[in-house]
Each structure stands twice: as C-alpha cells, then as structure tokens.
C-alpha cells in the first residue's frame, strides 16, 4: 500500500475558555476538534464539509501545523510532523501550501503580484532573484493571468483573479499537499467554476493531493473523490463522494444535503435546520451483527465501517 499524502490520526485541539471571572479566573476546556482521523491518498481530492464552527478550519490549520494539536499525529508523506519545531517544519512547509477564502486579505497589499508569487521561492532560497521573478511570471501565466500583471498590486484585481494569484503562490514550490480553505466561497458562480477547473487541471498536472474545505456541497460534488463530514468537532461520516450523495446515513449529512438549493422550483423542499438534540436522537443505531467489520457495543457514537470506504458515526447495539 502506498503512503498517503496526508494523514491525520486521532487529532484533537482543545481551547481553554474563560468560564468564571473575578480575581482568579477559571477555565474550562472546549474541544474544537475531537479525535479526527482522515487520510488523503496521493493524487486525490478530499472534501471536508461541515457548518461554521464544526472544526473544519481548525483541522486544516492543524494539518498545516499552524495550530499545534493537543493530541494526535499528523503525517505528511509518511513523516510525522506533529512534534516538529519551527526549524524542523521548514522543509515540510515546501510540501504543503494553503489557499484561503478571502483573497484580498490573503495578499500583502504593499507588494506587487510578482513579488507575492515569488516570495515562497525566496523564503526557501530557490534560485536567484531574477529566476524567482521569471518563475513567478510564468506561474501567473499558468493560472491564466497575463505576465504583464506582475507589476500590479492586489487591489487592482477582481476576486477571481486574486484567487488565481493565491493559487500560483501556493503551487510555485511544487507542493504535494494543498489545503484549500473555502477558496471559492467568496466568488460568484461563473468565477467559482473557473477556479474549480483551474484547481482540477493543476491537480492532474502536478499530482497534487488536495484537502478541500467547504460548506458548498455542489462544489464538493464536482471536485472531490471522497468527502469527510464534520459536526461539532468530530467526523460523523465519510465515504466516496457519490456514496455521500446517494447513500448518506448520518442525520447531519442528510441535513446538509437537504440544504443544497434545487434548481427546479418544483423540487424545492421545505428546509429545516435540525437542532443538536434532534441530530443526537437520530444518530443511527446499528446492531453489531449487521456490521461488516467487528465493533464493540457502546452507548456513545463511534465511527463504524458500513460498506467499502464508507464510515458513519453510530451507536453500536449488541
């Protein structure tokens, strides 16, 4: 079996939250991410979906080691990076890059596009300044911008163009893993499609593995190979993309699918938001004997395998 490009094993992140005021403040732990495991095979795109606050961005930040996990292991191309310090991480950083949602604040407004795109080369000491600029300009071309854009500033571009610049900057070091945190959420539909196509093309050309964080299920469906659904800091379901759309088992996944707007008004459903209690009550209960793989009975939900590559959080009954 080949080594996955990115693997998170049982990763958690706790934050201390001030619970009591006064002279001696008391804190309680809040688990933003609790025991998340996910695997991105080489050359594949995995969608990480969930509502705001579900912990998907924190998961992405931990994968990049911009946030240090409280526990768990992070492996990039088989190398454990969860305990590395700044110096040890530097070579790993070449392997992993990130693209954010807000393309405007993601680019330093004081720098020209050529400087922005060339900067990763400078940080990692690749090539002479002249070669770095040349490389940056050809990357601008590769993401569909003219070379003449090199002298421009971020504020002169549209949102879609800025996102192209952010992608060029992310890929100029030829990383193996790209974390894309809602890269299309701020764009309008036609531009969104262009950026998706660009990501798809580059993924194929560069053998990239992408963790695509999004709440936009229609984009996730067209782009990803697998989908991982997060809810309140935990993975509640994961499967091949088509299996999620055709055979979702967890009530939260179904609620997300119901929220996709339908193009035909006749198909529109009455949308309803499920409360935490409703989702808890509807958590699937599976008998041990039905499961294809062995699992211990439990009172709390656990991720169990229910089919090839399809896992769901369920309560296992004896």
């Amino acid at each position: 079996m080949t080594v996955p490009a990115l693997e998170l094993r049982n990763v958690s992140k706790d934050y201390l939250i001030k619970a009591g005021g006064g002279l001696i403040p008391s804190y309680r732990r809040h688990a933003a991410v609790a025991g998340v495991s996910l695997t991105i095979a080489r050359n594949s795109i995995v969608g990480l979906v969930g509502e705001s606050g579900s912990g998907k961005t924190t998961t992405g930040m931990m994968a990049l080691r911009l946030v240090k996990p409280t526990s768990g292991r992070i492996l990039v191309n088989g190398v454990d990076i969860s305990q590395l310090d700044h110096k040890g991480l530097k070579p790993v950083r070449r392997q992993m890059q990130v693209v954010f949602q807000d393309s405007y604040s993601a680019l330093d407004p004081m720098m020209t596009l050529a400087q922005i795109v060339a900067e990763p080369l400078d940080i990692h000491g690749v090539g002479s300044p002249r070669e770095q600029t040349d490389e940056a300009l050809s990357w601008l071309e590769r993401v569909g911008l003219d070379r003449s854009y090199g002298g421009r500033y971020p504020h002169e571009l549209s949102g879609g163009q800025r996102q192209r610049v952010a992608i060029a900057r992310a890929l100029i070091l030829k990383p193996t893993v790209l974390i894309a945190d809602e890269p299309t959420s701020a764009l309008d539909v036609s531009v969104k499609a262009q950026i998706i196509n660009l990501l798809q093309d580059l993924q194929e050309e560069m053998d990239l593995s992408i963790l695509f964080i999004s709440h936009d299920l229609s984009v996730v469906r067209s782009l990803t190979d697998r989908v991982v659904v997060m809810y309140r800091g935990q993975v509640v379901e994961e499967a091949e993309t088509e299996a999620i759309f055709s055979d979702a088992r967890h009530p939260y996944t179904r609620a997300l699918l119901d929220a996709i707007p339908a193009a035909n008004p006749r198909d529109r459903r009455v949308r309803r938001f499920l409360s935490v209690e409703e989702i808890e009550a509807a958590t699937p209960r599976l008998a041990r004997s039905e499961l294809p793989e062995a699992a211990e009975p439990s009172q709390t939900p656990q991720l169990v395998s229910i089919g090839p590559g399809h896992r769901v959080a369920a309560i296992v009954t004896p």
Binding site: L66, R93, R94, V98, Y104, D108, P109, H155, E156
Partner: protein, 309 residues
C-alpha cells in the same frame, strides 16, 4: 496627482488668508494696547505719538493690509518688546531651543512609542500590553503642563536629580524633552499596537507562516511595512505640533523659545510678533499635513496606483 497638489496648495493659501484675518481681528479685539502697561506709564501725548508712528491709529483694515503687504515681502515688522531687531531675527533666535527640545522629544519619543506598541501587540493581553495601553492613555489624556509639573516635582524637587528649569547646559534639556516626548510615545504606541494587530490577524500573515517564513521576518518585512503608512504620515504634523506644546512646556520650564514669546507677545500686545508666530505655525501645519497626505499617497499602492478599492 499634479492637479491634486495644485488644489492642495490653493487650499493652503486660503487657510493662510482666513487665519490671518481672524487672528488679526482677535488680536486687536483684546482690550488694551502695547503702551497701556502700569510698570512704565507714558503720558497721553507720548502714547498718541507712539501709536501714530507704529500706524496703530489707522483703521483696522488699513493696518491689516499694510501688515500683509509687508508679509508678502517677508517683512514682519519690528517686535515692540525688542525694538533693536526685526521679528525675523528674533524668531530665528527663538527657534533654536524650541527646535532642539521639541525635535529631540519627537525623535526620541517616536521610536520608544513604536517599540512599546510592538511589545504590546506581540504580547497581547499580557502585563506588557496592559502597561503600554495604560501608559499611552495617560500620555494622551494628561495635559502636557500637568506632566511637566509632575516631572519637576519628582525629578527636580523630590529626587533632586535634575535642574527644574532653564536653558543652556544639556542637563536642563532632559525634563522638557521628556515632557515633549509624552505625546509621541503615547500616539505611536497606540498606532503601532492597533496597526500591527490588524495586520497580524490577516490571512496573508497566516500564509507566510505556512510558507515557513520566520516570525521575525514576518513582523519586519510584512507587518511593520503595512503598519508604517500611518506611522510615517503622522510624524510631520506631530513634529509641528510641538510648536503648540511649547507654549506650555517652555513656560513651565522657563525656556526662552517660541512658546515663551507666544505668551509674552500676547501679554504685551506685541502685535507684529504675535501675528508672525501665528502665521508661521499656521503655514507649517498646513504644509505638514500637505506633505503627510502626499507621503501617504506615495507610500500606499492603493492610492499611488489607483484602482477600484
């Protein structure tokens, strides 16, 4: 850009004119005249003769036009308090202490304020941050004459480390410089802290971290560079602002500079000197803001290059 500069210069000239009219009227509306003092009484006839010689018996608008005509030829008249020299000679002498003390106050205060602001931003919500914010708020809210008095009380009276007043030996400069530095330290600490925090929270800084750039280089190459625009543009107006501060500081520390002459010229109804001082400060403020705006436009690509943001 050229059009903008021309427009701004016209507005500077207009401001200059309006201020000159208002000040001239206000100055003459203060009761009394230059020869009404009780310490050296003059007879009615002598007074009338003096007034006629100085042109003070003419209607106000004629006096104003005469004065401004002189101003356009760089002739600001002769100060009544010191008739042996021209106003320009007196000012060029009085400038030195104000420039040395105020200038050193800003030049030393600004970097200290920047350091304090950086320390606060990089240690957010720590003791350092609270100390810096408290210090900055106090520096901006306590009037400079109270700060001066406190400095004199602590360092000259209680500790007896430094002389309380005067001009001459450099040890006398320390306390007034400290008084002048309060506002630049406080202003820069606040500017730097908020500008850096604003910048540190933006995704491009996160991207830089993800690219493996060290925290020091992130702060010096990117964060400070973005934060520098307001810090550069506020410098010149603040520098000129010490001219107003000098009215209090120089009175408190008995320094023979511009501020001291400001006060004495009003007390003595020394019209030519008073006008010259106000017009000079007005012009410097106008030019300082003008240059600050140009510097802002020049430093900021969003304005320099134009575009839709």
């Amino acid at each position: 850009m050229l059009l903008y500069i021309i427009r701004r210069l016209i507005s500077v000239a207009l401001t200059f004119f309006v201020v000159s009219v208002i000040i001239f009227l206000m100055m003459h509306s203060i009761p009394g005249g230059p020869f009404d003092g009780n310490d050296m009484p003059v007879s009615e006839a002598v007074r009338a003769k003096l007034m006629a010689r100085l042109g003070l018996d003419q209607p106000l608008h004629v006096q104003y036009l005469n004065y401004m005509w002189g101003v356009l030829h760089f002739d600001f008249g002769v100060p009544y308090q010191s008739p042996g020299e021209s106003v320009i000679q007196l000012l060029s002498r009085a400038w030195v202490p104000s420039l040395v003390l105020g200038g050193l106050g800003v030049i030393l205060g600004a970097p200290l304020g920047i350091l304090l602001g950086m320390a606060a931003a990089l240690n957010r919500n720590s003791i350092i941050d609270y100390f810096a914010s408290t210090f900055a708020t106090l520096g901006l809210t306590i009037p400079v004459f109270v700060i001066s008095m406190l400095l004199i009380l602590v360092f000259a009276v209680w500790l007896d480390w430094l002389p309380a007043s005067g001009w001459g030996s450099p040890d006398r400069w320390i306390l007034p410089i400290a008084a002048y530095a309060a506002i630049p330290i406080a202003t820069y600490a606040r500017y730097t802290r908020s500008a850096m925090l604003d910048c540190l929270n933006r995704p491009f800084v996160t991207v830089l971290r993800a690219k493996g750039l060290s925290e020091n280089r992130i702060i010096f190459q990117h964060v400070l560079r973005n934060a520098a625009i307001p810090m550069v543009t506020v410098f010149l107006p603040m520098f000129i602002g010490t001219a107003t501060g000098s009215i209090f500081v120089e009175t408190m520390f008995r320094v023979p500079g511009l501020g001291a002459y400001f006060v004495s010229s009003i007390e003595a109804r020394d019209y030519p000197l008073e006008m010259a001082l106000v017009l000079m400060v007005t012009l410097m403020f106008c030019l300082a803001y003008f240059l600050a705006d140009i510097a802002y436009a020049w430093l900021n690509p969003r304005i320099r290059v134009g575009g839709d943001h």
